[in-house]
Amino acid sequence: MSASVAAAGEAPAAARRRPRVPHLVRFLAKRLAVTVGLLWGVTVVTFALVHVVPGDSATANLSEQALNDPALVAAYRARWGLDQPVYVQYLRYLWNLLHGDLGTSQQTGKPVLSDLAHYVPATMELAVPSMVLALLIGTAVGMLAAVRHGRATDQVVRVGSLLGLSTPPFWLSLVVLYQFFYLLGVSPSGGRLSTDFSPPPTVTGMYTVDSALAGQWAEWWDAVQHLVLPVLVLTCLTVATLIRFVRSAMLEVLSTDYIKAAHAKGLPGFTVLRRHLLRAGLVPVITVSGLAFAALLSGTVLVENIFGWPGIGQYAYRSATALDLPSILGVSLFVALVYTVVNLIVDLVYGLIDPRIRLS
């Protein structure tokens, strides 16, 4: 009798204890597991990819003469561990990876981690402002098109966004360079900084931030000028995708009864747009912005190439053409990590905006 009472008393206590582990922690733990799995998958796929192909980095990196000397080739392979069986190479890589060592780049001769530390901030300096601008412009224009659905504005926006989707980014880069550098001379030809300036002391690795922190305003202005054109191109690309998405998300919301109800309450049209439409329409937009950011990173490969921007895209390009496995792996891991982190942020923001997620 008493035992059963004790058991009955315990059960609810245990049930009560379970939710005490905050939802957020459980959510993050689950996400972490998924991320680790994804990163592991990336190493497997990249390794497999590089090893099923006939060539290896020896043929890509050694000169014609060196390739004719078997001793040299053997030495090169031994130096980079290419003479070991694939699984040994892979396990060795994983072991080092677990110790925070991404290996050494075969083409730069530096640790991949320090290469990444050097190139990533340059790319972020392009990608972050482009993404922010694209989100702002995409939301505003997409919303405008949705509100003016079926009318001339809508058609113009539609054609404009299709045009943006259909333009090769590298070609658009050349066109703006021709216009603003060659014809008008109002913009630098490329790179991150004019040759008159030396890079500001490294804090974040982003020149605009570092020069501002150091109070070097002439450098800052120069860095900003170098940013304008590549950011313009990347923004155009991203905005084109976002506009279409925002428009259809907003149209969906506009057709709901709650927007009708908001009008029926006598609220001014602008209040309905800002408070009721924007809030609901933004949720799906936020969920795609993760994918949009990944697409934007793709765009940087081509745009960096034209603007001579020493970022991760250029690094990836050079690593790929040199079959430099440690660097390719490093870039792949970095990109996959960015992808998951951005999606994590997206989910957290989603929870902040939508009470149905927050409270459940």
């Binding site: 009864d257 029926a264 006598g266 408070r275 939508d354």
Partner: protein, 320 residues
């Protein structure tokens, strides 16, 4: 009369007329029913009274509300009528409440605007309103979100929102259709009590004739965008003068006849824009005469305060 429309005709973008020549009256403190099937134009008529029709629609005729000419209003004029003069409760409260705004925000945003209340005063009135629609724990409700309530509670919240800016007329567009039967009765009782307490007028739109008899004093029967019959609700339901009303009553699952035999209406409803030249119900009507096929019959008096748009109505002895 608080609201009076005359010859209201609605044309949707594309030029298809969907509502023809509708004359409605709603007195102060009166609950008036509008009955009809989906697509009969009853909801579009309601939306026209709040200027909520799709952009590009045109409304002809006249509509006077509380001394104002509704059809002549500009944007600002509409803003002051909507919410504070006429307000609306929708069919599905889940769809009509914003999922991401708190009940408090949705309840006070237009109240503050129309009544010029401070944040504090608006909140106090919001608590009062929630109490009035019988929602327990109003203080907590204000901080809650719609998804945390049941369907019936959501509709109560929606009614509170509709009443927040002290409108004189509430348009209730099938407010109980999406709710359980047991919850329906509560909402109907609430509307009836609000009328008694505050002198609110209600235009109650429904396809459920049973609901009408419980709540409304007068009824308009809509079909294919026209009023076919109107009169005091008990009279219309007990001795329908229009074959369509009769058919509708006969077609009701729990028919008033009590014989248990259901009589389906033959044929199918009119598709807007493809109405026959005469009476829209003529193709499905077993009483139709030649006069029904040439032009839509006018509403004609058939009894005290009763009208039907049917040439055979006076002779009609329908037992519903």
């Amino acid at each position: 009369m608080l609201l009076a429309t005359e010859g209201l005709t609605i044309t949707l973008p594309g030029g298809v007329p969907v509502v023809h020549d509708v004359s409605l009256e709603v007195g102060a403190g009166e609950i008036v029913g509008v009955a009809g099937e989906s697509g009969s134009g009853k909801s579009l008529t309601a939306q026209a009274l709040l200027n909520l029709l799709p952009a590009g629609s045109t409304v002809d005729g006249a509509a006077r509300f509380d001394g104002k000419d509704l059809l002549g209003l500009d944007r600002r004029g509409w803003q002051s009528v909507r919410g504070a003069g006429i307000s609306m409760v929708f069919q599905d409260p889940t769809a009509a409440l914003h999922p991401m705004l708190s009940v408090g925000t949705q309840l006070t945003e237009h109240m503050r605007r129309h009544l010029g209340l401070s944040r504090r005063a608006a909140r106090a009135r919001a608590v009062e309103l929630l109490d009035q629609v019988r929602i327990p724990d109003p203080e907590r409700t204000l901080r809650s979100y719609p998804h945390q309530f049941s369907g019936g509670m959501r509709q109560r919240v929606a009614i509170a929102i509709a009443l927040a800016a002290r409108p004189k007329l509430l348009i209730a567009d099938e407010p109980t259709t999406a709710l359980d039967v047991t919850v329906q009765a509560g909402i109907l009782a609430l509307l009836s009590r609000l009328r008694d307490e505050t002198g609110l007028s209600v235009l109650f739109i429904t396809h459920d004739l049973g609901v009408l008899s419980a709540l409304t004093a007068r009824t308009y029967v809509f079909y294919a965008g026209r009023v076919l019959e109107t009169g005091p609700t008990p009279a219309v339901l007990s001795t329908p003068r229009h074959p369509y009303t009769a058919a509708l009553l006969g077609a009701r699952p729990h028919g008033a006849t009590g014989t248990g035999a259901l009589q389906p209406i033959p044929g199918s409803p009119v598709i807007p824009g493809a109405a026959p030249p005469g009476c829209p119900f003529e193709p499905r009507c077993s009483y139709a005469v030649d006069a029904c096929r040439t032009a839509p019959p006018e509403l004609a008096r058939t009894g005290p305060d009763r009208y039907a748009a049917c040439p055979v109505a006076p002779e009609l002895e329908v037992s519903a």
